[in-house]
Symmetry: C2
Subunit: 293 residues, 2 copies
């Protein structure tokens, strides 16, 4: 089968055998935002044309199933596991002798406010085996960090934290970026400034107040300006961790090596247990979903 994880800014496809073993991989920066006039079928052929000659089943997840994607696959309400998500797969019409489906995203509500994910649920399904029967807490750090509670193979609920995107817009577009070195020239985030930001997040005053410290500490010479990006990162991740501190148990991390390392350090410094997992679970999750189709 073909498993496609097609997000906003990247395209990742896997050719899998019947056991879910990856036979071939195709990765490109052709996320859905780069596709004009709805020419998703053309891009698919350009990226994995030869696979389409030999395979007859394809499952796609991520923003490709959103309103901005190929076709909308409506959100499924939590609690939801493989069965609920499989039932909500949307068949995709394609000039191809095989069968293709779009995976839906998930929704949940807390305090009357909806939360949404699209793509991460497949990563979580791919990690279920490693989690065990009892499930647990999974964090997928990133632009929009997702914190999901899993029990008996189902995602019970989750929350999104705009940590990575807040870091990016504050650094690139707010006054905080003016003192900072250009991206790539900052100090290692594992340094003292990152820990200082984390520690600051544990004190009172609120995030909007703490943010200004990423300027004033530099202006007053308390922190070298090369450490200001790490300090800001520590502040934001620290606030994310403080807001999720009430959720008990070890935190299973799925993400890039750099992000997983940073969150592991932050969790450990907060007295919590970090359990890094293998980074990319989309292929495994889509293979799991394809069972019985």
């Amino acid at each position: 089968m073909i498993a496609v994880d097609w997000g906003t800014s990247s395209f990742r496809a896997y050719r899998l055998d019947g056991h879910g073993t990856i036979l071939d991989t195709s990765v490109s920066p052709r996320g859905i935002l780069t596709v004009t006039d709805g020419r998703f079928a053309d891009v698919l052929r350009q990226e994995i044309g030869p696979w389409l000659e030999v395979e007859r089943r394809m499952l796609l997840s991520g923003m490709i199933g959103s309103r901005q994607g190929w076709r909308e696959a409506p959100y499924v309400a939590c609690p939801a596991g493989g069965a609920e998500i499989r039932q909500a797969l949307i068949p995709l019409e394609l000039d191809w002798p095989g069968k293709a489906w779009l995976a839906p995203g998930l929704s949940c509500r807390s305090d009357g406010v909806p939360d949404l994910m699209r793509g991460e649920e497949v990563q979580i399904l791919g990690a279920l085996g490693e989690l065990g029967e009892d499930g647990g807490l999974i964090c997928l750090p990133g632009t929009h960090s997702k914190w999901a509670r899993v029990a008996r193979g189902r995602i019970m609920g989750f929350e999104t934290h705009m940590t990575g995107e807040s870091f990016a817009v504050l650094r690139q577009h707010s006054i905080l970026g003016r003192l900072m070195p250009p991206a790539g020239q900052e100090q290692d985030p594992e340094d003292r400034a990152f820990a200082q930001g984390l520690a600051r997040a544990k004190t009172g005053g609120g995030l909007l107040h703490h943010l200004f410290g990423a300027r004033s500490l530099g202006l007053m010479g308390d922190l070298p300006v090369a450490g200001l990006p790490a300090y800001l990162s520590g502040l934001l991740i620290g606030h994310e961790l403080a807001a999720t501190a009430a959720i008990p148990g070890p935190v299973h991390l799925i993400g890039s090596e750099a992000l997983t390392e940073r969150y592991s350090k932050a969790l450990t410094l907060s007295g919590r247990i970090a359990k890094p997992m293998a980074p990319d679970r989309a292929a495994a999750g889509l293979h799991f979903l394809s069972q019985g189709l």
Copy 2:
């Protein structure tokens, strides 16, 4: 005398008589960021040349006294009142028969982190008379909101909240802005969405999580997209108020009419007492500082 409040994005000057009564006003968008090659003296002559012919004393406050301004007037540590600030005035050399001084900014520390203001301290000095002997709590809402505690004519300490700037960068540069109507076409901030954002800020989950609601509520049709800017504004102001809730007493507000109205509503909805003050106190503050020079 001439009182000049010269900030990052605007220039405001006042000609005052001996009692501090405003005889003439000059306002322009020539903030220090628009001045190239340090040509501050030229801009000053272009804006208030005729006043320089007749007046012989001038006091300038705001970012004009920063490292990016005409000359740096170092920060004075709190507690500081008229006496401490007056002592730290920096004489400004100018091809002019009169005398000119730059006002310093203020600094303070909490939890080992410095905080800074430059310009707002003059507004606060200008409001001292209205506050009375006991002083009180003053909030100057804006791009960087300042909350200052005043006692016996001195600013004891303060904190900055990056509320306005966070709103601007999230709206203009994050995914939250994509669903929102163009600036100017949003609903009145006094509406239901603003109150909903304020209420959400009182629940747990943290600001980084709450921010995502300004997208998901729109995507799921829970909130009309025209109300999303007001919701985001309510969220951010609500978090600012939650972080300052431990500071007792009524909150005296100095700011534009629109901001003062919005903060008054937010404070009242939070069960606190809002005391709007007259909006622009720079002239009064600089006149007060000029006494005895």
